[in-house]
């Protein structure tokens, strides 16, 4: 047995590491020449040198690797598919499993894994790329200097792309201390150390700024940007960062000015489309200025520019007749989904529920784990069914109270409306996206699941109607990061709404007594939506005076004042009493509420008034209301003489 094992082991060894032939002097020479041509960007001659070398060393994975790299550069980064194929062949030759980062054991293979990470970065598969680089980082010390620098910078970039600014910052600091100082080799002169640092300082500063912006460390950011502006005031990236900074501080005019100061040549060196970014950022600024239609305009423009850029690239690819056809940089260039996301939220704030819904339902396919996005989607559904809280006061709603009349003479009958609530159960399953309440409930469930565990982050308790089938489930929840100063602003209004929803549910469950307690108008004490004083580290003197005052109040909501809010609660109270048959109390509350709720009255009040009059047999009183407000449906007036009998004839004859 032992013998067999030994034999198998040695067989395995034969398989895994057939020794490569020794490197001859001439091969060394070739290799060194090739590298030199590569460094001089002479990719053509580099490629031909590599062809010679691989003829001599066909089994050497490093030669195959560098040949692939040279050819990729030579093609202008157009042949991504081919490069990937060649890379996987190299992996086979080197017995490396590129898909499993755990298998990186030999530091010699680092460059293969690094290149894989680069490709993944450009394909926007950030998590996969991070997986590789995190493992690669363990071998950072023995890495050749240039590769180490590239690896750390890409690592920083990936942390930023995945919104982990603290990790990114940690990596920047590490890099500053180790990779970018020349102090590794003993005996380095002072000058040389500084030289190495100087070349990289601006880039490191840029990374730092991006980290600080993402972490909202405004003071440190200010310092960093100041130093950047003093040395690189013309750099587009720097200007955009400064604009971003001003935008975060609320100095929107300044931010706009900065953006406008850069001439937008269409594409950056990294292949990004400037008009897309320019318009997008303007859209963001206008959002914060509460100019949502203008903001939507800019987002639309950004979207159009993005579409155009993609078309251009596609056309170019067909022209080049390459397998992949797009340059490596431009593969991940499209900002389609981010733009949809921005656009959807902006449209929602324009009050355009369905267009917003269409945008967000597409965006959520990509940004699946963003709880706030699911919440916005639910808000679209709700808005699609109820544009705002004042729509009950509109004429078209009021006209539903009496829908018409039939017949004439003694046969005339009035047709009352059945109410405002739409009683249509949606066809099909709620899982298919549609702007319905059922789908909204699904979205909210998703949002809930995606929230972090911390109970501090959940602001509201979801309130569900128990009568599931026809009554719409009103689960209302607002996720907020802990410590968010805006949390306080929303709680008051949410508590008010919570009471109202709860009461409605209780009435449906026949717990009317509880509902009546909850609907006490005295309980309504605060429904404000405005922010308390901003407690961030902003320097107030620097704030743009034009910045919107009530920072939290992007979309108008009613009831706007306490009186009206109380009046609504009181109306609901009247409803609860009416359902329980307590018509006196109902009438009383209705009367008070209608005097405080402001005109025009919501349609529900007319419904309730007629209901109360008719159910208590006050036919003439009902007629007063009907003739006053719905005069077009009846010719019958009521004579308001004190002593006369009710003017409606006694129907003592047969049925109609």
């Amino acid at each position: 047995m032992a013998d067999n094992k030994a034999k198998n082991d040695s067989d395995a060894e034969m398989e895994t590491s057939m020794p490569l032939p020794q490197v001859t002097e001439s091969q060394k020479e070739l290799a060194s020449q090739a590298m030199s041509e590569f460094d001089k960007k002479q990719y053509g001659s580099c490629c031909s040198l590599m062809h010679k070398l691989i003829a001599q060393r066909p089994t050497d994975p490093k030669v195959a690797h560098n040949k692939a790299v040279a050819e990729f550069f030579q093609s202008g980064f157009l042949t991504t598919d081919e490069f990937r194929q060649q890379l996987s062949k190299v992996c086979q030759m080197a017995h490396v499993n590129i898909d499993n980062s755990e298998s990186l054991e030999d530091v010699d293979h680092s460059v293969i894994y690094f290149n894989q990470a680069v490709i993944l970065y450009h394909l926007r598969q950030y998590k996969a790329a991070l997986n590789i680089l995190d493992k690669l980082f363990q071998y950072i010390e023995p890495l050749e200097e240039a590769l180490a620098k590239k690896a750390t910078m890409l690592l920083v970039e990936l942390y930023l792309c995945t919104y982990q600014p603290e990790k990114a910052m940690g990596m920047v600091h590490y890099a500053e201390k180790t990779v970018f100082t020349a102090g590794k080799n003993a005996g380095e002169k002072e000058n040389k150390e500084d030289q190495v640092d100087e070349a990289w300082k601006p880039k490191i500063s840029l990374y730092k700024t991006r980290c600080l912006l993402m972490m909202k460390s405004m003071k440190s950011c200010k310092r960093e940007i100041k130093s950047l502006m003093s040395t690189q005031a013309m750099n587009t990236a720097v200007i955009y960062l400064k604009s971003n900074f001003e935008h975060l501080r609320g100095n929107h005019k300044k931010a706009m000015k900065m953006l406008g100061s850069v001439s937008t040549s269409d594409f950056t060196e990294a292949g990004e489309c400037m008009p897309v970014m320019y318009n997008n950022n303007l859209g963001c600024i206008h959002f914060h200025l509460s100019k949502h239609h203008l903001g939507a305009f800019h987002f639309r423009k950004a979207f159009q520019e993005n579409e155009n850029a993609i078309k251009d690239i596609k056309r170019g690819a067909e022209h080049n007749k390459n397998l992949s056809g797009k340059t490596l940089n431009s593969i991940g260039m499209s900002r389609h989904f981010e733009l949809l996301y921005n656009m959807g939220i902006q449209l929602l704030h324009c009050g355009k529920a369905m267009p917003a819904f269409d945008c967000l339902v597409e965006a959520v396919q990509v940004f699946r784990s963003n709880p706030r996005l699911w919440l916005r989607l639910a808000e679209c559904c709700i808005m699609a069914n109820r544009q705002n809280n004042d729509e009950d006061r509109k004429l078209e709603k009021r006209l539903e109270v009496i829908q018409g009349s039939d017949g004439s003479g003694i046969h005339r009958k009035l047709r009352l409306g059945p109410g405002l609530k739409k009683d249509n159960p949606s066809p099909g399953t709620p899982a298919i996206p549609a702007a319905t309440h059922e789908f909204a409930a699904l979205c909210l469930k998703n949002a809930l699941h995606l929230l972090p565990e911390d109970p501090l982050t959940a602001e509201k308790v979801p309130i569900e109607d128990s009568d599931t089938v026809k009554i719409t489930p009103e689960m209302v929840l607002v996720p907020a990061p802990p410590g968010n100063p805006l949390k306080a602003a929303e709680v008051a209004s949410l508590r008010y709404l919570g009471h109202l929803y709860m009461a409605e549910a209780q009435v449906a469950m026949d717990k009317i007594a509880d509902a009546i307690q909850l609907l006490n108008p005295e309980l309504v004490v605060d429904i404000s939506l405005t922010l308390p004083e901003n407690k961030t580290e902003q320097d107030k003197s620097e704030r743009d005076p034009e910045a919107s005052e009530s920072k939290g109040y992007f979309y108008p909501w009613s009831p706007k004042d306490l009186t009206r809010a109380k009046a609504i609660a009181q109306y609901d109270l009247a409803t609860a009493h009416a359902i329980r048959g307590e018509y006196d109390k109902a009438g009383q509350n209705l009367g008070e509420s209608s005097s405080r709720i402001g005109t025009p009255l919501p349609a529900q009040m007319y419904f309730l008034k007629l209901y109360l009059d008719l159910i208590e047999g006050r036919r003439n009183m009902a007629q007063v209301v009907i003739k006053d407000h719905f005069g077009h449906v009846t010719p019958n007036r009521v004579e308001m003489k004190m002593n006369s009998k009710p003017g409606v004839p006694r129907p003592d004859t047969a049925v109609s």
């Binding site: 460059v111 363990q138 955009y240 990294a270 003479g409 046969h411 009958k413 929803y501 409605e504 209901y611």
Partner: protein, 351 residues
Amino acid sequence: QFDLHWAIPAISPAERYFLSQLISSPTKEMFKKTPTQIIQLDVSSMQNFDVSGLQLALAERQSEMPAQSKSAMPCVVPDRDTKPSSFDHFGKPGVINPDVQRQTIESLLTGNKAPVENCMMPEFIRLAPPLHIAEDELCWMNPVDMDYSVAWDTTMCVSSSAGVEIRRLMSKAFKGALTLQQQQQLLDELEKDNKLVYHIGLTPAKLPDLVENNPLVAIEVLLRLMQSNQITEYFSVLVNMEMSLHSMEVVNRLTTAVELPSEFIHLYISNCISTCETIRDRYLQNRLVRLVCVFLQSLIRNKIIDVKDIFIEVQAFCIEFSRIREAAGLFRLLKSLDSADPQNTPTAATR
């Protein structure tokens, strides 16, 4: 007006009789009559139908239902003209117009959503919540000023002959003991190039093999890796590998050469002790216990560990294996240190 039910117009006695017959026991003759005949029936002599049973059943049924479902009223409301509205009607109030009558009946009772089937009840005003207020929700875009491109492999064709030879030696070292000369060659090359240690094909997974076959080489290699990011992984492999003379030798040497994290040492000691306790072979057990005792004595004497930290565990170990000479010796050492220590805490002394 207040006598009559608000929703249902008054019915004549004949109509009432007809309805009660329908509910209780309709006769065949009744169905042969025309509506006009029924209306003109003289029912003064007929018995009045007792509705109390029906009312009771209805009340019972309704008592189960929530108030909300009992609160609706029909949507059709009679609204007879109070004044004549056309010449036709002058002087003829209360005249039935059969055409109008039929049209009205049809529009109220027939069709897809006949008005007669609607009902109206008190409705809550259900407010929509305000839009969520979020800070920094939108995606701002900044141009990236970096070019992330694919890299050239600078190690192509540069490995010296020494490097290849060393790798070959190392792969041998994992499988069996090297000769003294070979070991020396390895160590010399590692000394010359301090990055070589990263290129010799050593991984944490392979460490145990190296330790078992060539502990001296393992020691050297680990010392050279002390500053690297991987060292913690190597430590954890060392701690968890099967206890042996060689592994103890390696750990011992490491402790004297560099400062190891104390958690690592404690963990290693615990592992050693538990290995001794669980091993079944008496002979092997004795041997291991002896080794552990010698190891611990060395650690203590060289002040690499603080006795206080492991006192209880080691004392228990010594007592358990008190039959072995070295354990007894270790025990005495522990006691001497314990009593010599002026800061002796009561908890340490009592067991």
